[in-house]
Amino acid sequence: MTKHNKVSARKSSALSQFFEGAKDTLPLIVGAIPFGIIFGTLAATAGLSFEATMGMSLFVFAGSSQFVCVSLVSAGTAWPMIVLTTFVVNLRHMLYGATMVPFYKNLNPLWKMVLAFGLTDETFAVAVSRYCQKDEAPDKHYYNLGSMVFMYTNWNLCTFIGLTAGKAFPGISNWGLDFAMPATFIGIVIPYLVSKPMWASVVTAGTVSILAGGLPHKLGLMAAALAGVIMGLVCEKIFHSKKELV
């Protein structure tokens, strides 16, 4: 109560920060709803059990890698390869962690672990913009938590809805819903395409993925990703030195 009285004048109480974080995440939730439902239906049709599908959303909580996992499972890939692929697909989250280090520095280890667990693309984007605002609100981590809890609840709820829909309509695997994955990924990739090195990287990855498609254990995916990253770095160097010449 005393805490409430102290801070109620300003919008910096823990609870109002929490709800503000959830509110600002709403537009991203709208995009995550079909993503989550489609994940649930695809996982069921790929042959994953109900428990495994829910377990993945509950414990892994990383949308794009969960989609990739489903496509690998339906291709009969062994689990160590799926874990390795998850590592590659989620490596970008290390940048998010690095960005948050100064903002989380006064939090205890439990807070750091909880917030790190929820560092999805969406919550990172929302929370980092709040942390970068100039005001001295002491409860910005509650804002971050609000965004995370909202995303997490929604993701698991949508996974469950998708699983249930998959059960209710057993023929759903013949509806061509598997196109939802490339469609979603295209929507995610396009905003990245803002520079020549990024274009070169993506074109290279796409080309190699076809050329190396015959490699066992989906190694073509790794080869393509690696080729794309290297091409991006090489082009960065070429275009950078060209700029210096001009």
Binding site: P34, A62, H93, K112, S201, V202, A205, G232
Partner: protein
């Protein structure tokens, strides 16, 4: 590879995925200040997500059966992907991109199933 009811393989897979994902998201907090990644690694990291996703998109669209390259315009996956690229490029709206390209894809699939 999995049947009904949770399998041992699935438990290994989920535990592994959960560990690597949490590890990636958390690792910077305990090691910050003690360790610096090579600059090249940090710059390369930003190309990883679009490169990985593209490496998943292209085969699933151009080789929908998993073995043969299908570049014909009667391939509904190709049509749908082209629509998704156009929608994404024009409107930069994830939801719109998914919904419109799905509708076009399903429509094409239905038309070719009829013919």
């Amino acid at each position: 590879m999995f049947g009904t009811g949770i399998q041992v393989n699935e438990i290994y897979m989920i535990a592994g995925m959960a560990l690597v994902t949490f590890g990636i998201r958390y690792i910077m907090f305990p090691i910050s200040g003690r360790f610096q990644f090579p600059e090249l690694f940090e710059r390369g990291l930003k190309y990883a997500p679009p490169a990985v996703l593209t490496a998943i998109i292209v085969p699933s669209v151009l080789m929908p059966t998993g073995d043969i390259l299908n570049l014909k315009l009667s391939n509904p996956y190709l049509i749908g992907a082209l629509v998704a690229c156009a929608m994404g490029g024009l409107f930069k709206n994830l939801l719109l991109t998914i919904v419109v390209s799905m509708i076009v894809f399903l429509g094409f699939q239905w038309v070719f199933a009829m013919g």
